[in-house]
Structures are given as C-alpha cells and as structure tokens.
C-alpha cells in the first residue's frame, strides 16, 4: 500500500490543484506540489532502504495491476522525485506571476504521478498507462502557453511523433501477449526463453509472374524487442523520432529540465533496461539499438554546434546524451545506461535550470548572440553552469566522467572483433566526446564570457525596481502581460532570486560528486542484479569490472584514454575560437557553408516529418475528403440514391393524373388482366 501511496500523493495534488487551484493564493499551489513530491521521495527512499516492495491487485479479470519497487525502479523513483522536487522549488520562483500558476503545478504533479506509474509498473498494461500518461503531461506542458502558435505546433508535433513510437510499443506488448501469453513481467521473461525459436512471417511467401519470393521471417523475440525499442525511440527521442525534442523547448524551462532532459525522455532507456531479458535474446535487436543510439549520439550533437538559442543547445546536447545511453543499451551495458541516466539527470537538469536563470536574468532573451559577459552579473548561475558543463563533457572527478567513460569503454570493448555496427558505434561515441565538449564550452563562453552584447538603455532606478520584483518574474509568453511590457529588454542582467539559485546549488553538488561515489557499488557491485539480466557472453560490464580498482584508479586510467584527450581538444578549440579569436568562427562559417546548411536543416529530418509525412497526410486527407467523402460517399452514395429515386419518380409521376377516369380505367384494365390470368391458370 505504501508503494501505491508514492503514486497517489502527487496524483492527489493534481486533483486538488485541478479542482481548487484557482482559489489558492500564489505560492500555495507550488508549496503544496513540492511538499508532496518530497513526501513521495521520502516514502520511496524508505521503501528502497527496507529492501523493496510489491503491490498487487486485480484490475480487470485477468489483467493485474501490479507495482514493484526493486533496486532498478526504486532508483528511478528517487531520481524522478528527487530531481523533481528541486525543480518544483525552482518553479515556485520561475513561474511566479504566471496566470496559469496552479495549472502548471497540477500538470507537473500529474507528470510525476504518471512517471512513477511507468517506473514502478510490474506488468505491461500498468507501464503503458504511465507511458501514455507522461506523454499526455508532456503534451500539456509543452503547450502550457497555449496562446503561442509555436507552442501549439510543438506540442502537437511531440504528441504525433510520440504516437508513432507508442504504436510500436503497443505492437511489442501485443507480441508479448501473443507469444508469452502473459502481461506480467516476470512471467513474460521466464517464458521468453521458450519462444526463442518462434518466427513471425512479416511478408509471406508469394509468387509474381512465376518468380517466387521467399517469406521474410524474423524471430519473434527480435520482433518484440524491436517493436518495444521503437516505443523507446519515440519517448527517448532517438533518430529519426527525435524531431519533437528540440521543439519541446517551447514549454516553460522547469519542464524542459525535468521532463525533456532528466526524466521522461529517459523512460525509453529505463524500459529497455527493464526488458533486458528480452533484448538479450536477440542480437539483431541489440545491433539495431546500437546503430540508432550511435547515430543519435554523434549527429544530433553536431547540430548543437550551430544553434544560437541557449535552450536549444542544451536540448541537442540532451539528444546526444540519450544517444550515449542507447549505445550502452546496445552493447548490453544496461547498468551503465542507467548510471549515465542518473548522472545526466543531475547535470542536465542543472544546465537547463541555469539556462532558465540566464533567461530570467536577461529579461527573457534566449539568443546567445545577444548575451556575453554575464559572469560578472550572475556569479551563482555562472559557477553552477560551469559545474554542469564540466560534468557534461566528462571532466575527471565530475559525475559525467564516470558514466560516460564507462559507456565509451563498453563500446570500445564491444567493437573488438565485433560487427561493423559495433565499430561504427565506437567511433561515433568517441567523436561525440569532442563534439560535446566543443558545443558545451561554446555555450558557456558565448553566454558568460566575452564582450557584453546585450543592449542596456535603462536607468539605475528601473534596475533596482526590477530587482525588487523579480521574485515575481513572469515568462515572456503570457502575451499582453503588463509586467513584460514594463520590463522590455532593457535593464542590466541580474542574478536570480534564491528559489532559483538554491536548486542550482543543490543540483551542482551531485553533479560533481555522485559519479565518483556511486560508480563502484552501482556498476560493479551488483546493485542491479535481479533487475537487469545480461547473458554471460554479452556482459561487458563484468569485463570492465575485472579491471576496476576503485574510482580513483578508474579516473587515472580514463585520463590516459583518447576520449579524455578528445574532450580536452574540444575544450581547447572552443576556448581559442570563442574566447580569444571570435573571427575564426566567422571565417569558419564561410568555409563550411555547405555542412552548416545541412546542420541548420537538421539533415532534413524536420522537413521529412513535417512536410513529408504530416504534409503528405494532410494532402492525402484533403484529396480523400474531396474525392472519397464528398465525391463517392456524399455524391454517389447518399445524394446518388436520392437522385435516383427522384429521377424515377419524375418519370412515373405522369401516370398520376389525378383524374378519376384514368384511375377507373386502370382498375378495370387491371381487373380484366387479372381475370384473364386467373382463368388461364385455373382453366383445368
């Protein structure tokens, strides 16, 4: 029951704020929401320390509603509620003054509740509820400022792209039910071994013009695993279903931090880790996962280099890091993926919140080209951003170093004498390190260092005043917000209020330390034994574990590896260009005009989806409406029937003269005819 409580607490807040939120005074909804998320965190922590928990009930006949808190899901629960709590506190300040203040927290807690359902699920239908629920919450929150057309476009895009993934996920669940005959995780995993011989004919054998095409068969396990992974691709924004994530930055920054960086997007990673017993049985599926992950890791990182919006750079960085996690899944290093998921949750949430703090400080300016030199004005934001950046690029002793290095090592290990995809993945994650380091420091330098490129045309008194009220800072989007008009883009940048900076500091601490202290027990100490299953021949983490002699030795070893030097060279290049010689960037823009064009078009994926699939569907719908609906159904079938009847009636109405004699004549002729027939028939 206590386990159910962790989900019900945030759900209760959702209901309360949804029903009575409008009557509550400003900080109350935020405080209430944060408080119960904290309660949920404490409850979950207590259960995890007491050795896990299980909740079982029958939901519908034959369909169980079961929850399980083991090390894996408990761990996720702590990340979701822990990081979620800090971001809630941040949002109390960030969202202050917004007309939708209580609505925001209502949605936010709905998200937490659904995410916990997803994480704690012990059977497929329960996970599916959470899976769709977080999608819904994400949809609502991306479109939170529903008066902005771009936000509406973005949330629709996110929802539709996720739907593609969800369809795959649902197909995967159907596959499990069909082959294993159960919805329960544990039973499905134990039966999945037995069906490893089963195959599915995707295209049956057929003959055309005397040429016989042999059926295209895949093994059932591969089919299930790939379908499930397609679901993960949608949720975790893997190429080519990644297009929704950068646009989701239209939502409020706390949302970007929690949902679109730290937790929801990692649901796919978590799900694959949960389903490890299925994925382990299919090398094909693992290669597929690896290929997608490697592509995402490298190529979305490259797009980050040319972005100018602070939040978008961080968004592409998130995509790239999700690619790293997927690579880890692809080489069967599930625990490394989950480990990176955790460190990433801290430092990426930190970077997003710092970006939000910069946006507040800059009076709602998001374009890096109009920033610069902010270090002087926003010291806390600067130092915490620096910590986040160092963690992201994998600086030794920072948390990101341990998780990322493990993934790189695992990929390198898998590449030895492996498939070409393994080699490709090895190169992709390696080059990705350089790219990550370059765009991260570019972001840092353009924002906090260099010349001050913002315009200031305000007097000091205005500045002081803005300082006083910035606790109630509102976001730009509430159009015709009087506050915004009053603020304009004037005024010097200023440091954010304590509700914003304290979460930054609290997130900065684990961003530094958590990797060093948890790598040993989590990765190599068998923390996830029982929750994650790896076949002995795939177990790269075990091989890495044999070389692991404490975090300090691991750090020293990592510093001799190429990844470290690639990160360092990325740092050096970014430092040279953006700190000392900004001209190089301008010249590079001319030299690399073509690749930059390709990157600006995001490899054409956006066009493919928006113009190709969405536009094609709309065109198809238009044509179908015109020809099938209006033409065939309305024109031929509905109106056609009426027309036919009308035409026949017009033909025969002439016989209805209304004259008595005509009718009498017809009657008599008819009578004679009938009599003639009768006498003829009954003549005998």
């Amino acid at each position: 029951m206590a386990l159910l409580g962790t989900i019900l607490l945030p759900l209760l807040v959702f209901a309360l704020l949804g029903l009575f939120g409008k009557r509550m005074r400003e900080p109350l909804p935020g405080v209430l929401a944060s408080g119960l998320v904290l309660a949920s965190f404490l409850l979950g922590a207590g259960l995890l320390l007491s050795g896990g928990a299980r909740f079982q009930a029958e939901w519908l006949p034959g369909i169980p509603f079961s929850l399980l808190l083991d090390n894996l899901s408990g761990f996720m629960l702590l990340i979701v509620t822990g990081v979620g709590f800090l971001i809630h506190v941040y949002a109390i300040g960030y969202m202050g003054g917004d007309p939708g203040y209580s609505r925001f927290f209502a949605y936010f807690n709905l998200f937490i509740a659904m995410m916990l359902t997803l994480v704690l699920a012990d059977s497929y239908p329960v996970m599916f509820i959470g899976w769709e629920g977080v999608g819904l919450a994400s949809f609502l929150l991306i479109g939170f400022w529903y008066k902005r057309p771009t936000a509406i476009f973005a949330n629709l895009k996110a929802f539709l792209v996720n739907r593609v993934g969800d369809f795959g996920f649902l197909l995967g669940i159907c596959g499990v039910v069909y082959f294993a005959g159960t919805l329960d995780y544990a039973q499905a995993f134990s039966q999945v071994n037995g069906i490893s011989q089963a195959v599915i004919e995707l295209i049956p054998t057929f003959t055309v013009f005397g040429h016989t095409f042999v059926a295209w068969e895949v093994s059932a396990v591969t089919f299930i695993a790939i379908c499930l992974f397609i679901g993960a691709m949608g949720k975790s924004a893997q190429v080519p279903l990644h297009v929704w994530l950068p646009d989701s930055m239209e939502g409020p920054t706390p949302i970007s931090a929690l949902i679109h960086a730290a937790t929801m997007v990692t649901a796919g990673i978590f799900m694959v880790a949960r389903m490890s017993p299925i994925f382990e049985l299919s090398p094909t599926a693992l290669h597929f996962v690896l290929f997608i992950g490697a592509t995402t890791a490298l190529f979305t990182g490259l797009i980050g280099i040319i972005q100018n919006d602070v939040k978008r750079v961080v968004a592409y960085s998130t995509l790239s890091q999700l690619g790293y996690m997927t690579v880890a899944l692809g080489v069967s290093a599930y625990s490394a993926a989950v480990f990176h998921l955790m460190t990433h949750a801290f430092f990426k949430a930190l970077l997003f919140l710092a970006a939000g703090s910069v946006i507040i400080g800059m009076h709602h300016e998001q374009d890096m080209r109009k920033m610069g030199g902010l270090k002087k004005y926003m010291p806390i934001t600067y130092w915490t951003s620096l910590i986040g950046t160092l963690a992201l690029v994998g600086t030794p002793f920072f948390s990101g170093f341990y998780s990322k290095d493990t993934i790189i090592e695992a990929a390198a290990h898998a590449a030895h004498g492996g498939h070409w995809i393994n080699t490709y993945a090895d190169w992709a994650v390696m080059l990705g390190v350089f790219v990550t380091s370059f765009y991260s420091f570019r972001l840092l330098y353009l924002t906090f260092h260099g010349k001050e490129r913002f315009e200031t045309h305000s007097d000091e008194s205005h500045h002081a005043e803005s300082h006083e009220i910035h606790g109630n800072e509102a976001h730009p989007a509430h159009d015709n917000n009087a506050h915004d008009a009053h603020h304009g883009h004037g005024g010097l940048p200023h440091e954010s209020p304590w509700v914003v900076t304290v979460p930054l500091i609290l997130l900065a601490i684990p961003s530094i330390f958590i990797g060093y202290f948890t790598i040993g027990p989590m990765l190599f100490g068998g923390f996830f034994t029982g929750a994650i299953e790896v076949l002995p021949q795939n177990d790269v983490i075990k091989v890495l574990g044999e070389e692991f002699h404490g975090p300090f030795a691991f750090t020293l070893h990592g510093m001799q590896m190429p990844a470290f030097w690639l990160a360092l060279s990325g740092f050096a290049l970014a430092t040279y260009i953006y700190l000392f010689n900004i001209r190089v960037a301008e010249r590079a823009q001319k030299i690399f005009a073509l690749p930059i064009r390709i990157l600006e078009n995001k490899y054409g994926f956006d066009d493919l989806w928006v113009k190709g699939f969405a536009g094609g569907s709309i065109a198809l719908g238009g044509k179908a409406w015109k020809y099938i609906d209006a033409g065939l159904i309305d024109g031929v079938m509905v109106n056609g029937t009426a027309n036919l009847v009308g035409r026949i009636a017009r033909g025969i109405r002439g016989t209805q003269t209304g004259r008595l004699t005509t009718y009498a004549f017809a009657m008599i002729v008819g009578l004679i005819a009938m009599l003639a027939i009768a006498t003829h028939l009954f003549a005998e």
Binding site: Q656, T657, R659, L660
Partner: protein, 95 residues
C-alpha cells in the same frame, strides 16, 4: 344463361358510364348499375345452385344502401365547396 348475358351487358354499360360520364352523380349511378349487374348474376346463379347467391345479393343491397348514403353525402359536400360536381375538375391529387 340469359341472366348472365343480361348481367354482363348491364355491367359493361356501368363500366362505360363510369369511364365516360363527367358528372359525379352519373358516375355514381353507373357504379350502382354495376353493383346491380353483379346482384343479377348472383341471383341467377342462385337459381341453379341454391339460395346462397340470394343471400349474397341481399348483402350487396345493404352495403350499396350504406354506400349511397356516404357517396351522396360526399357529392353534396363537394358541390357546396366547388359549385360543380364535374369529376375532371377534382385533380388535386395529381402527381
């Protein structure tokens, strides 16, 4: 045999009257003629096969009396309404 011939002749006359007369009264009279032609044949058959036909003829007379009451009533009503009983003018039910 002559009963039947007379009856057929009367019936044909009635049909002719219904088809050609314009006045509702005469159409009505022609219908009565047809009814009585039928009565005549019934009575004629009764001579050969027993009294059932006569019973049927009495029945027809009774019904015809009722019909006359209704029919004449209708004709009077139509005349009051339209100042005419010409059946060709009554074509409101034309299609």
């Amino acid at each position: 045999m002559s009963y039947l011939l007379t009856s057929a002749l009367l019936f044909a006359l009635g049909v002719y009257g219904v088809l050609t007369r314009r006045t509702a009264i005469l159409v009505f009279l022609s219908i009565e003629l047809m009814l009585n032609a039928a009565n005549l044949s019934l009575v004629g058959f009764a001579r050969a096969y027993g009294l059932d036909g006569q019973v049927a003829a009495l029945m027809v007379i009774a019904v015809a009396a009722a019909e006359v009451a209704v029919g004449l009533g209708l004709i009077v009503a139509i005349f009051r309404h339209r100042e005419s009983t010409a059946v060709d003018d009554l074509s409101e039910l034309r299609g």
